[in-house]
C-alpha cells in the first residue's frame, strides 16, 4: 500500500499541497479532503503539486475535476503542476487538460495562482 502524503505550505498567498504517492481511489479521497479543508479555511488560491505522484487512476483524475469545480464555484483558482509523464499522459488521453490549469513547475504554478484573479 502506497499511502498518499500531502505536505502543505503557504507561498505568496497561495496554498500549495505537495502530493506524493498513488492517486487511486484511496489517494483521491485524501487529496479531496485536503483541498476541501483549504477551501473551508477560505484559502481559494490552490496549487496541487503532483511531482511525487507516480500513478493516477480515473478516480484520481475525477477528484482533480471535482476540486477544480469547487474552486470555480467559490471564484478561486486551482493550478496543478509537476506532472510525471504517466500522469500527464492520462490527463491528455482523457481530454481533461481542457478543464485544468497546468504548469510545469511549482514556482510557475504559484506565480500563476498568485496572479490569477479570484
Amino acid at each position: 500500500m502506497n499511502e498518499v502524503k500531502i505536505e502543505h505550505r503557504n507561498e505568496r498567498g497561495v496554498s500549495v499541497g505537495r502530493i506524493a504517492g498513488r492517486l487511486d481511489m484511496q489517494g483521491a479521497a485524501v487529496m479531496e479532503t485536503y483541498a476541501q479543508q483549504r477551501l473551508s479555511a477560505g484559502e481559494l488560491r490552490l496549487v496541487l503539486d503532483l511531482a511525487g505522484v507516480d500513478y493516477i487512476s480515473s478516480a484520481g483524475l475525477r477528484s482533480l475535476l471535482v476540486v477544480a469545480k469547487k474552486v470555480q464555484v467559490l471564484n478561486g483558482c486551482l493550478v496543478v503542476c509537476g506532472l510525471m509523464p504517466m500522469v500527464l499522459n492520462v490527463i491528455n488521453i482523457s481530454g481533461f487538460q481542457q478543464l485544468l490549469k497546468i504548469c510545469v513547475t511549482a514556482e510557475e504554478a504559484v506565480a500563476a495562482a498568485a496572479s490569477l484573479p479570484e
Binding site: M25, Y55, I56, S57, S58, A59, L61, R62, L65, K69, M86, N89, V90, I93, S94, G95, F96, Q98, L99
Partner: protein
Amino acid sequence: MNENYTVSRYLISRLHHIGIKHLFGVPGDYNLDFLDEVLASPIRWVGNCNELNAGYAADGYARLNGVGAAVVTYGVGGLSILNAVAGAFAEHVPVIIINGAPPARRRESGAMVHHLVSNYYLQLDIYRKITADAALLADPKTAPDEIDRVIRNCLALKLPGYLELPADITRAPCRAPGEFLPAASLTSNQESLTECVAEVAEMLNKAKNPVILAGVELLRFGLGKETLSLVETIEVPFATMLSSKSVLPELHPQFVGIYQGGWSKELVRRQVEDSDCLLSLGAWMTDLDTGLFSINLDARRMISVGNGQVRIGCHFYHEIQLRDFIRELAPAVQPRSYQASHPAGAYHPKQHFVPVPGCGLTALRLYECLNYHLDDQMILIAEPGDAFCAAPEFNIEEAENFIVQAYYCSIGFCTPAALGIALARPGKRPFVLSGDGAFQMTAQEVSTLIRERCPAVIVIINNDGYLIERKLHQDGAYNDIQMWHYAKLPAVFGDESFVIGLRVTTEEELEQAMRTAVSTKDKLVFIEASLPNRDCSAGLDRVGQAFRQAQKK
C-alpha cells in the same frame, strides 16, 4: 404522536418511518378524516390540482427520495391517478397510493354511494395488476400487518403499492407499530453468487476491451455510488442509456457516452458493440433505449445482470441481486490501468453559447444554449418528445441530475414531477424541458409549484402542436392544438412577485432569458421558446425516420 394508535396514525407513522416527508394528493369526502391526521403529523400535505398530477409528483419525489406517496378519494380520484401509477409500475418507481373509500358498512350492504363505478372491489382488482401489492384495509385488527406487507413489497420490488382505506376505519383503534422488517425475498443465493462472480471476474480479466453498460435498475435500486466504485476500482469504461442517463457522473474520465444502438454516436456505438466483454448492469432493452431495437450486441460476449439474475452467453445464474453482485465483483477483478482501459473518445467540454445578433431561434441553438447554462444545482427533467430526443447530448456532469420517463413515455409527466423533485431535493432546482403539447396536459401544476415556492426553471418548446407525432407518422389535423400565450400563464396562476414569464424568439432573447433564470435562483422562471416551422432536434428527426421505416416493414 401519542400511543393511542388508529389505523390512520399507524399508516402515517409507517410512511414517516420509511422517509416520506410530503404527501401529494387531492381531498375528497372519503379521505378527509385521514387528511386531518396528516395535518397533525410531521408529514407535510401538498395538495395538487388533480389526481394525475399528484401521481406524477409522487413519482418524481420517489425517484429521488426512494419512495413517494399520494392520497386520493374513491373512484373519481382513484381512477384519475391510474395512468401515473401505471407509469410508476412500468418504470419501477415505488409510489404508495392511499385511496379513501366508502365506509365498510356501506360496502357490506352494497349501497349505491357516490363515486362507485360498478362494485366495491373494482379498484382493488385494477390496482392489483399494476402494483407490487394491494390491500383493502377493512379490519383494524389486520390493517397493521397489511400496511406493513404492502409497504415492504413496494420498497423491495421498487413498484407501486395500494392501500384502500374505508372512511370508518381511519379512526378505528389498532395496535402500535412494532419494528419494521424489510422484505426477506430480495437476497442473493450466496453459492450461486460466488460461482457467478468468479466466472464474470475471469471473463473480465481475460478481456482486452471490456465496457460496463450502466442501466436504469441502478438508478431504481440506488446503486450509483456502488457502481462508480466498481468502475473506479477495476478501471473499466462505462456507457449509460437514455433511461439511465446521469446514474453516474458524466464528467468522469471513464464515461464513454450514451448508448442507444444505431442512434448512438459512432464512437460510442463501436466501443460498446465491439467490446469483447460487455457487462450490462440493470439495463432494460426498451425501444427508445435501443434506438428502436437497432442494437448489435453479441450475447456470447455479454454479461447481463438484472431482475434478480445473471445471464452469461446462454446460461443463467438465478437469485442474484444487483447490489450483491456489484459489491462482490469489485474486489474479485484485477484492476487495469487507465492508460490500458479508457473511452475511445476524449472529453469535449461544453461550448460557450454566443448568440448571433438578430438571428431567429432554431431547435439546434435552443438546445446548445440550454446545455451551456445547465449547472450542477439543476435537475433536468426531459419530457417525452423533442426534449428527450435532444437530451442525450446534454452534458449532465454530476450524478442524479437528470430525470426522464423514457419507457412509459407519458407526456405531461414533467411539470408535476418537478414539484416532487423540488420537494425531495430542496437544495436543487428542477429544470423542466417540455413541449407545448405535453405542457398543456398538466399545465395547472405550475400553480402548485408557485404555491410551494419551488424556484423551478420551465422551458416550453413551442413548436405548435404534437411535433413528435407529426414526425412519427404522416401529419394530420389531430396534431394541432390551440396556441396559448404560454409566457403569460405563470402570472395567471398566482403570485407575480415569485414568477418571471418570458417569451423568446431570437438567440439573443434566449441567452438573456437563460441568464435571468440562472441568476434569479429564488423565483420560478418560465420561458416560452418559440420555434419556427416545426423545427426540431436531430435526435427527433432520427427517431421519426426510424419509426416511419419500421411502419413500412
